[in-house]
């Protein structure tokens, strides 16, 4: 921090307080960002990071406190003020128009439409210059719809730079990137810092925070609980401060694989819009083993999960469950066959937001005993079931009649875990089971998966987080463009090795080799 003493303060948040009813999302939060500095903003989900950024960008008005950019206070509640003052935000979910070119996307909204023709050449020259300065290689005339996720992110950054942003705020920027793309992004960020920009980097990934930031600020329960130079700390220390205690990551001893429980042979599915379908997959899940599926999102993971979960049927090929053909099953038959499904999106597909905990707990089992008989619900059995889950899976909530939308992501996920794990399922499909969860909940979910494996269940773990995949999996497949890599045993691949496959290269080489 010392070498920033002389540097100018470009952003100052002071005493920001924001409450939503009884919840204090931000409690007197403040920090300063200096020119040429990278701050990492760390915190569990619900720690108040999003609220803080929404206040900075005028989406929310703070109850108390001020935001100053370049020494000038921003008027509260005005989304344009931050942009005009030179703050650019790169959201986790991009805000680009797919049917327009990079050039059009970058210049959109920066000047009147009728001058589009005349100044096009100047705009293009400027974009090419910026792309060159910041090492953001992207074709200005390409349609955004045809770009990869990494390229789209570069367009988002270009958009901010084109608007003369001096401060870049990146919200979980690496969540969707391959390791190589992450390396490229970091190079761009280092260039930007060298050119005098300042960066706020919001992330869950501790080693990235260590790699890129000068200072770390940790939020917990809406308060700043730690602020210090990155060099003075280490990932374990940061993790401990985030959750407020020593983090006990589950120990993943190698599993002992048994017989194949679920086998896919020659399975293909049609493409879904931009997402590729599966390309003739052969694949089986063994008992007592966690199979990790690594890959950048949107490379066929969704199709595979839907297939195993009974949501779709293959266009060709077969699924067999312990030898029996189940190619034409449905979600209900999948559940009845003992498949536990933890869906990717717990808000949209895993739960019904306006149902209470009890109603959500029986979502998969309501049609049979003990929850109903001859079409009549047995609500007391349902309530007993949800109370049991609440106790045994440590779901923090006011009670079984609470609407599930009021629960945090972690507690929601625990309810889903309880729901699917109750019958000791033999096959577990965990699709992004810890996305967006805090470390405590992450460890809990992981230990449950390991416990299931140790009692002989076959687990398929789909994740975009390589650390998670490598920590838990006994065997790893990489999926790219709907193609599946050969299985890699635990410990035989480095992240860089897997990254090559994730970027789709290994497949070409394998094809050449064969």
């Amino acid at each position: 921090m010392h070498h920033h003493k002389e540097a100018q303060v470009v952003l100052r948040l002071d005493q920001i307080t924001k409450t939503f009813g009884a919840l204090t999302a931000n409690d007197a939060v403040g920090f300063t960002l200096h020119e040429g500095e990278v701050i990492a903003l760390l915190g569990e989900n619900g720690a108040g990071k999003t609220t803080l950024m929404n206040i900075l960008f005028g989406q929310y008005t703070a109850d108390r406190g001020t935001v100053e950019v370049m020494g000038r206070a921003l008027p509260p509640g005005n989304p344009r003020a931050a942009l005009d003052a030179g703050v650019g935000m790169v959201h986790q979910h991009f805000t680009l128009a797919d049917n327009m070119t990079v050039l059009e996307n970058v210049t959109l909204g920066t000047r009147p439409l009728w001058s589009l023709g005349q100044r096009r050449t100047a705009a293009r020259a400027r974009i090419v210059q910026l792309a060159d300065d910041f090492k953001l290689s992207v074709d200005p005339d390409a349609r955004v719809g045809t770009l990869t996720v990494g390229e789209r992110q570069r367009v988002e950054i270009l958009k901010a730079l084109y608007r003369d942003a001096r401060i870049l705020i990146l919200d979980e920027p690496t969540a969707v990137l391959t390791p190589q793309e992450t390396t490229d992004l970091f190079e761009t960020l280092r260039k930007a810092v060298a050119l005098g920009l300042s960066i706020v980097f919001i992330s869950h990934k501790l080693h990235e925070v260590m790699a890129i930031s000068d200072r770390v600020i940790i939020l917990r329960h809406g308060r700043v609980v730690h602020e210090g130079a990155t060099g003075d700390t280490d990932p374990q220390d940061l993790a401990a401060r985030m959750v407020g205690g020593e983090v006990a990551a589950p120990k993943a001893a190698p599993g002992t694989p048994g017989a194949p429980l679920l086998a896919l042979s020659g399975v293909s599915t049609p493409d879904r819009g931009a997402a590729p379908g599966l390309k003739s997959l052969d694949f089986s899940l063994l008992a007592g083993q966690i199979t990790g599926l690594a890959g950048v999102s949107g490379n066929g993971q969704g199709a595979l999960a839907d297939l195993i979960g009974g949501m779709i049927r293959p266009a060709s090929g077969t699924l067999s469950l312990a030898g029996a053909d189940v190619t034409s099953w449905t979600p209900r038959t999948a559940v009845q066959a003992g498949i536990a499904r933890i869906p990717e999106d717990r808000h949209k597909t895993g739960t019904i937001a306006d149902f209470d905990l009890t109603e959500n707990a029986i979502l998969e089992g309501y049609a049979g005993a003990p929850f109903s008989r001859h079409g009549w619900m047995n609500w007391s059995a349902a309530k007993a079931f949800s109370e049991d889950i609440i106790t045994r899976y440590d779901v923090r909530c006011p009670g079984p009649t609470t609407r599930i939308r009021l629960l945090s992501g972690g507690n929601m996920q625990k309810l889903i875990l309880g729901r699917v794990m109750e019958g000791e399922p033999q096959i577990i499909l965990a699709n992004q089971p810890v996305r967006g969860l805090d470390i405590g909940a992450v460890n809990y979910v992981h230990s449950q998966l390991l416990k299931a494996r140790d009692r002989g269940a076959a687990v398929l773990l789909i994740s975009e987080d390589l650390d998670e995949i490598m920590a838990l999996s006994d065997v790893i497949h990489v999926i790219s463009e709907g193609r599946l890599s050969p299985p890699f045993a635990r410990g035989t691949m480095t992240p860089a090795d897997l990254g090559v496959w994730m970027a789709g290269h290994g497949f070409v080489e394998a094809a050449h080799a064969s």
Binding site: A353, F355, Y366
Partner: protein, 349 residues
């Protein structure tokens, strides 16, 4: 000004919308009455008196509420599952048509057999009428708002054709009406001498049954799940298409009972002015009731009271009965706004 979601609305906030909607409606109706040159207090008083002020008025209101309870239930059941049934009007006429055909002498059965048979067949007719759009929706993704709405016009023209032709009453002096029902096909009065037929009783029973289905059966649970989040319902293994079809059958059947009760209970024959838009007003009733089956009874009484009261008020002071339409429209709009305010609070910048 912005809207901010309220995490856990209090009981007062939950009960506020109907109260606010009624209060706002009264204020706006008063202003309109003043515009029409009448004393607003006497206008409102006359509406109230005309709706509930005497035994005759009260019975009239209950009679008027009867078809509205049925169509309100039909809409509430469908909307709960997010099946947008705008076709209760046609389904009502389908039920009425069955009664007009079977009850005018075609089936010469005792009342105890004839009345339930007609009710069941009427429900089947209404159900089938909604089954077509529902199948088009789940099979081909055709928007049911469009199909149910258009079927209203087609079916009314079909009824009109029958009333001018095959079903025309030979004793009807040339009027487009069906032959009178035989005595066994008429719904009896609940209490001798009082002009209130068993259609009203059937409506109350239906509301209770629909409430029980919603709260106590797997079908009710499925319908709510499908309505609140179709994607999650599908993922969990709820047979979404089948639930929507069952919902359509129930909804169409309930709407048809409105026609059954109007012809067999009140009118005794089918004419084209059997329903002054009960099917559409059912949407207002269901929305005012927040789609709650028991709330439908209260909402139907409120709506019927305004119509009946406004008729009587109009005769007395000459303010047009359009005031009733305006009051209903106002109540509905205010209700929608008020519901928004229970879920969100307005934040002033």
């Amino acid at each position: 000004m912005r809207l901010e979601p309220i995490v856990n609305p209090s009981l007062a906030r939950t009960l506020a919308p109907p109260a606010l909607a009624i209060a706002g409606t009264v204020v706006i109706a008063s202003l309109l009455a003043m515009l029409a040159g009448a004393n607003p207090f006497s206008v409102l008083g006359l509406i109230l008196k005309g709706a509930f002020g005497s035994q005759f008025a009260l019975l009239e209101t209950l009679n008027r509420a009867t078809p509205l309870i049925f169509t309100g239930l039909a809409v509430a059941v469908a909307f709960r599952a997010r099946l947008w049934n705008i076709g209760a009007e046609a389904q009502l006429y389908a039920g009425a048509l069955v009664v007009a055909i079977l009850g005018a002498g075609l089936l010469d059965w005792p009342a105890i057999l004839l009345l339930p048979t007609m009710a069941i067949l009427a429900m089947i007719a209404g159900a089938v009428l909604l089954l077509i759009p529902a199948l088009l929706k789940v099979r081909l993704g055709v928007d049911e708002v469009v199909t149910t709405l258009l079927i209203n016009f087609i079916f009314l023209l079909f009824v009109s054709m029958l009333l001018e032709g095959a079903l025309k009453d030979p004793m009807g002096m040339g009027w487009p009406k069906s032959a009178r029902l035989i005595e066994e096909a008429r719904l009896p009065r609940i209490i001798d001498g009082l002009r209130l037929h068993w259609g009203f009783g059937l409506a109350l029973i239906s509301a209770v049954i629909v409430w029980i289905i919603g709260a106590r059966t797997t079908l009710g649970y499925e319908m709510r799940a499908v309505g609140l989040n179709r994607e999650a319902a599908e993922f969990a293994g709820i047979p979404v298409s089948r639930v929507l079809i069952k919902t359509a059958l129930l909804s169409g059947g309930l709407a048809a009972l409105a026609g059954y009760s109007e012809v067999a209970g009140l009118k005794g024959s089918l004419t084209l002015d059997l329903s002054p838009g009960f099917g559409y007003t059912g949407i207002i009733v269901a929305m005012l009731a927040l789609l709650n089956p028991l709330g439908v009874i209260a909402a139907a009484l409120f709506v019927a009271g305004i119509f009946v009261g406004a008729d009587s008020m109009s005769r007395a002071v000459g303010v047009p009965t359009y005031l009733a339409d305006i009051m209903l429209a106002t109540a509905l709009l205010l209700m929608v706004v008020a519901i928004l305010l229970t879920r969100f609070r307005v934040v002033r910048e």
